[in-house]
Amino acid sequence: MRLGLTHDRGPGPLALMGTVTGGTTIVIAISIAVLIWVWAAGGRSESLLVNVGITAIMVIGYQVFVGNTGIVSFGHPAFVAIGAYVGGLVAVPSGIKSAILPDLPHWLMNLSVGFYPSILIGGAAAGLAALVVGPIVMRLSGATAGIMTFGLLVITNEVIRNLDQFTRGTQTFFGVPKASGLLDVYGLLCALTAVSLAYKFSRFGLRTRAARDDPLAAETSGINVVRTRVGAWVLSASITGVAGVLLAHQLTAFSPQSFFITMVIPVMVMAVLGGTASIIGGVAGVVVISAWLEFMRGIEGGSLFGLVEIPSIFGISQLTLGVGLILVLRLRPRGIFGSTEFAWRLSGSRPRDRDPDRGATQGQGE
């Protein structure tokens, strides 16, 4: 058994399993490394790494829609917000709830669910919201659809600001128990990676990707383009909603302006850097950018691991990040991984099963 890069799921159920578990294995390995790091450092960077894990889930959720449909979304913070508010609302203990949200309906006032049920509810709420608006937005394509998603974000934001009874309006919403542990976040990250890979290589994902590459040819091949896009949109929103609930349980207090357009930019950059069409690429984008920013922050602070004293230069982390992005995308316009994923393959596989590896290394720069 060995891990290699692949463009498709390969023939047969075993190959599909190898493809889904391949990328997941990498993410599990990263997660274990993170846990060991935090354990070895005595929990010092735990909070930072929880945030990184939540961002990684956001990137995966973003990839499921943008990577498979080719439509750029500016609206995903709306699903983070819906996940955070809905998941947060059902998780706030009743006692606090009666103090901060006195006008809640009776049944909601007494409702206080645990961490995992709140994740399910928040994710489902975001998915449901996407299902309601999806059939309208997904009729559009290209930049128009992208702008429409931004419109959705603006609307969601306004609704949250005005639903005082449930959200405290523009005031800070607080009282969510701090429950997003490192193990929970990274466990969910691994599980959602597997879900995204399974979707990408399922017939639903294949239909969506076909419609991304050529909508007209997809239609004349019998694919209902709007329906396939709505499928990706809803799955993507649910995953993003889960990230929102986790964020609520990490921040414990937040307000509508916590979830606006600035939230989607780093997510977008990470996805594009790694390769929008690749799930493992999204994860790679998170790892590379988070590590780089952390590293540069140390330099900005005037020391390198406390070993070398250097003059502090403000803004160097952002500056180098910008230059790095331009360089990477100049050399690999489709991101680090293009549209490839990792897959487990039997070592003695036939030559043509190895072809994708060759394609992955040779044929990416277009």
Binding site: T6, H7, D8, G10, P11, G12, P13, R203, L206, R207, R209, A210, R212, D213, D214, L216, A217, A218, E219, T220, S221, G222, I223, N224, V225, A277, S339, R352, D353, D355, P356, G359, G363, E366
Partner: protein, 256 residues
Amino acid sequence: MGSPAAGRTSPAPALSALGIEKRFAGVTALDGVDIEVGQGETLGLLGPNGSGKTTLVNCVSGVVRPNAGRVLIDGIEIGHLSRDRRARAGLIRTYQNLRLFTDLTVAENIEVGLLAQRGRPREQRRNLVRRSLAEQGLEDVARLPVSELPYGAQKRVEVARALVSEPKVLLLDEPGAGLGSSETELLSEALRSARSRFSCAMLMIDHNVNLIMGLSDRIVVLSDGKVLRSGTPAEIAGDPEVISVYLGQVPQKLPR
């Protein structure tokens, strides 16, 4: 004009396009064209550039909406259906300028051709894709992104994607364009074997007269958006008016 419907009384034609009219901003591309393709029949569509061949295929497949006219499959009206529902009704087409799913692999491109029909088990899909890859000699490149293949091989992928679902009616828009003679031979062979295996009706446009004459049961010649002649390949080849229409457009010789 039109074709004599005699001898095709019992089953309805696989494809009928009746009274198709299409105007683009004042230019009449199709001016009341009637075409019928019988069950299992191959109809060749000839005509000079701008005669409306591709527009007719576009009208039938729903890529453009005709201003007037009806489209029927097996006698059932499909003119009001969306493109994807026409495809699910068994009407599949190829494009003159390749329209492949460039980021998908060869095998995935072909599998998409099977996804129109819901509820086909995965095992069966896999076997059909494998057979299709073998037929077109694409096994060795099955898992490469289709954009990495040379033109001729991409053309074969498009034909494979169209044939794999065993469509009732197949519309081929210049399948032989840009192919060398040996590649054209392979194409011809693939279409023949498809026809004998699941007897699909074909409407084929091509400028390669040898390809068209070799495969077609009947030929319709379009000129200026109207049906100019209809007949067997032999009749058409000797028709002075057809020759003059072509000579008016292509001064060198009767196409290849």
